[in-house]
């Protein structure tokens, strides 16, 4: 299931809805990403005060659904969820959630990590950081690309 929303989410309610009524699930792995108050440094004058997530609505949904399908074809998943927020967020806010349910834990853990690694490089989101009133677009990280590539070899 793919969810794109500006609003915050309730982790418990999302997981209950995802797995409700399914009795073949033995493990549920969940990742929740939060906005971090990244400190000053690397040319940045102050800590992050807010972050605005912009995205490309039609393509975001399409890419996230594709990433979820890849995970489903690779692991035996009973249920999966990618929930991503957009709009202006502040440190401590929930930004993304990935959840994978399977009969055993290994598939659930691996698939959840796979979703996040692919999402970082394939989903069309951009982050505008605010530090001391100055806005700056966050650059993509090479380490994220390497994390995604690792799955292509396996």
């Amino acid at each position: 299931m793919i969810k794109l929303q500006a609003e915050d989410f309730d982790i418990g309610a999302e997981l209950a809805a995802l797995t409700g009524g399914q009795h073949d699930i033995g493990g549920l792995a969940v990742f929740v990403g939060l906005v971090r108050a990244e400190a000053a440094g690397d040319g940045a004058p102050a800590a992050v005060e807010a972050m605005t997530l912009e995205h490309y609505p039609g393509m975001t949904r399409k890419m996230l659904a594709g990433i979820e399908r890849k995970a489903q074809s690779r692991w035996p998943l009973s249920a999966s969820l990618i929930l991503h927020r957009y709009g202006r967020l502040v440190p401590g806010d929930r930004i993304v959630m990935a959840a994978c349910a399977s009969s055993h834990r290994h598939a659930a853990f691996e698939a959840c990590q796979f979703l996040m690694d692919w999402l970082k490089t394939e989903a069309p989101f951009w982050k505008l950081e605010e530090r001391q009133g100055e806005a700056r677009w966050v650059e993509a990280r090479k380490s994220d690309e390497a994390a995604q590539k690792r799955w292509e070899q396996g």
Binding site: H55, Y56, I95, V96, W126, K127, W137, D144
Partner: protein
């Protein structure tokens, strides 16, 4: 052809998107970028470093050699930073 701009590409051009009719001879993503770069200072700034840009044609990532034609939705943006 419908064009969409995101993140600093949008900021530099000053538009979120527009309808354009490129001349004959603009047949690929790379040729479209060259044509757009000549439309004004904002465009020149946005397309100054093509290697820092990514494109999508009809909502799929597209390299510089991918074909574009009338009726396509073409988006330009920096490398993505989700999650």
């Amino acid at each position: 052809m419908k064009l969409l701009y995101f993140a600093w590409v949008k900021t530099r051009i000053g538009l979120a998107g527009e309808e354009v009719t490129p001349p004959a001879g603009v047949a690929t993503v790379a040729q479209l970028m060259t044509w757009l770069a000549a439309r004004g200072p904002g465009y020149a700034a946005a397309f100054a470093e093509p290697e820092r840009l990514r494109a999508a044609v009809n909502q799929d990532f597209a390299g510089p050699e991918i074909a574009v034609s009338a009726g396509d939705e073409v988006a330009f943006f920096p490398p993505v930073t989700g999650g």
